[in-house]
């Protein structure tokens, strides 16, 4: 079947058998090997991609079902070739990855969380990555990486688009963003000694 998929902002077409999962299509047809194949039956989360901004398991979706959605893979997060997104960089800084197998899924799950939650609690982070299994790094440093990234994104003061369904009521949306002023206050201006 001919399928047109919008992947990382680019429409790409391929002739794909119905039984081929989105995961296999991404890796084999479009050579986006950053999406990792783990258990291939929806348990491990290594194959997580964003569909319309929300994390889903690409092994539990057939490529023929994926037309019309905005699909984002790990390759679509970096602002430019050779650069890292804030979250990717935070994972490096806090040693949030060791073998790296679960990392694309973890980062995409964290990315979706931080798109709609400016100041996530530890519980929010744990819930967001609860569907992603890590077998070597340990979750402590991964949670730390997401906390670190959240902190940096708050300080960067970059507007974040609300992808997908709204997660906040209008009242919550209009309220001053918790942590923004505090984060700014933490940054004492460095006074050079004269």
């Amino acid at each position: 079947m001919k399928v047109d998929l919008r992947i990382n902002g680019v429409v790409r077409s391929a002739d794909i058998e119905p039984r081929k999962t989105l995961l296999d299509a991404l890796r084999e047809n479009f050579l986006l090997n950053g999406t990792h194949a783990g258990c291939e039956h929806g348990v491990c989360g290594a194959c997580t991609v964003l569909v319309d901004g929300e994390p889903v398991r690409s092994c539990l979706m057939f490529a023929v079902q994926a037309d019309g959605y905005e699909i984002t893979t790990i390759e679509g997060l970096a602002p430019a070739p050779g650069e890292l997104s804030v979250i990717q960089d935070a994972f490096c800084e806090t040693h949030g990855l060791q073998c790296g197998y679960c990392t694309p899924g973890m980062i995409l799950a964290a990315h979706a969380l931080l798109q709609h939650t400016i100041t996530p609690t530890r519980e929010d982070i744990v819930e967001a990555i609860s569907g992603n299994i890590c077998r070597c790094t340990g979750y402590g440093q991964i949670v730390e990486a997401v906390q670190f990234a959240a902190d940096r994104l708050r300080k960067a003061n970059t507007p974040r688009p609300h992808n997908g369904a709204p997660h906040h009521t209008q009242a919550e949306h209009d309220a001053p963003v918790e942590g923004v002023l505090a984060a700014a206050a933490d940054d004492e201006p460095v006074v050079e000694p004269k």
Binding site: M1, R19, T21, H41, G42, A109
Partner: protein, 294 residues
């Protein structure tokens, strides 16, 4: 871990989907696919044809009716979890949804899919049976419906016929003002399959006495079970009455036994979780102000 070959069709209307389904006994419906695709990957299921109903407009949306909220079958679990109508009017469904799978599976998984799958430990069927929801079905002869209690007949077994499709779930809305919900489950890991789950909904009058109560357990029997708690109506849901009602109702449950939990364990945990769920529901209801209509 690769599915066997199948044909894929995406009909434009619900009637067309039912006709396709009725015409081919090797055809299966797919919506979110969060249970079906693993079954295909492990080749536990080998349908010749998949009929994709996820984008059918007739199956989408959440609407309020008199005394009920109708949740379209293809409503994503993640969407239902955040929906203000469901939170306000079917609080039990809103309470159990965070326990269904993980965020990425709830982003694709549908409310109707969980109903049609009929896993005995699943939370959405438990809420449907406990609240006495109606399962709305689309058939080649037009729409029909049946009570959730008749719909679930065993583990992964429903009384749905060939060519029939779950179109929506009609959850009754309690008219009372002071309503509280309680939910507890025991599983090996967070969001894993529940060994035992208990859900309770309680309505209190202005005098703090129980006007209406619903209690259900999942994961214990071969399908979700609603327990008769009518003896609690009129009481203040004190510990002694609750324990007595739960004990007499849970005595007769036929519990399943498997590698994870014995029947005796399940029955015992069910009793404890039922009492906790009722207590949580009562506390939540009691915290709401008395007086006035809903």
């Amino acid at each position: 871990m690769k599915p066997a070959p199948f044909d894929y069709v995406r009909p434009g209307t619900l009637a067309e989907a039912c006709t396709l389904l009725a015409a081919d006994e090797d055809a299966r419906l797919i919506a979110g696919g969060q249970t079906l695709v693993p079954m295909l990957a492990m080749r536990l299921a080998r349908p010749a044809k998949l009929i994709d109903i996820l984008r059918l407009p007739e199956l989408a949306g959440i609407r309020e009716e008199t005394g009920a909220v109708v949740v379209g079958a293809t409503t994503r679990q993640a969407h239902a979890e955040r929906d203000p109508v469901i939170r306000a009017s079917v609080p039990m469904l809103a309470r159990v949804l965070p326990w269904v799978g993980h965020p990425p599976t709830r982003n694709r998984g549908t409310v109707g899919g969980s109903i049609a799958n009929a896993d005995p430990s699943a939370e959405i069927p438990l809420a449907a049976v406990t609240l006495g929801a109606d399962i709305m079905l689309a058939t080649t002869d037009g729409p029909t419906s049946m009570p959730a209690d008749d719909f679930f007949i065993g583990p992964m077994l429903t009384s749905i016929g060939q060519g029939e499709c779950v179109s929506a779930i009609r959850f009754p809305v309690w008219p009372h003002r002071r309503i509280g919900v309680g939910f507890f489950e025991i599983s090996a890991r967070r969001s894993d399959f529940a060994f035992v789950a208990a859900a309770a909904q309680v309505a209190l009058g202005d005098d703090g006495r129980c006007i209406d109560v619903a209690l259900g357990v999942g994961g214990v029997g071969d399908r979700p079970l609603r327990l008769d708690m009518s003896s609690l109506v009129g009481t203040e849901l004190d510990a002694a009455s609750v324990a007595e009602a739960v004990n007499s109702a849970s005595d007769n449950i036929e519990a399943m036994s498997d590698l994870h939990a014995s029947a005796a364990y399940r029955r015992r945990v069910a009793g404890v979780l039922c009492i906790r769920a009722l207590e949580q529901a009562r506390t939540e209801a009691a915290a709401k102000p008395a007086g006035g209509a809903r």
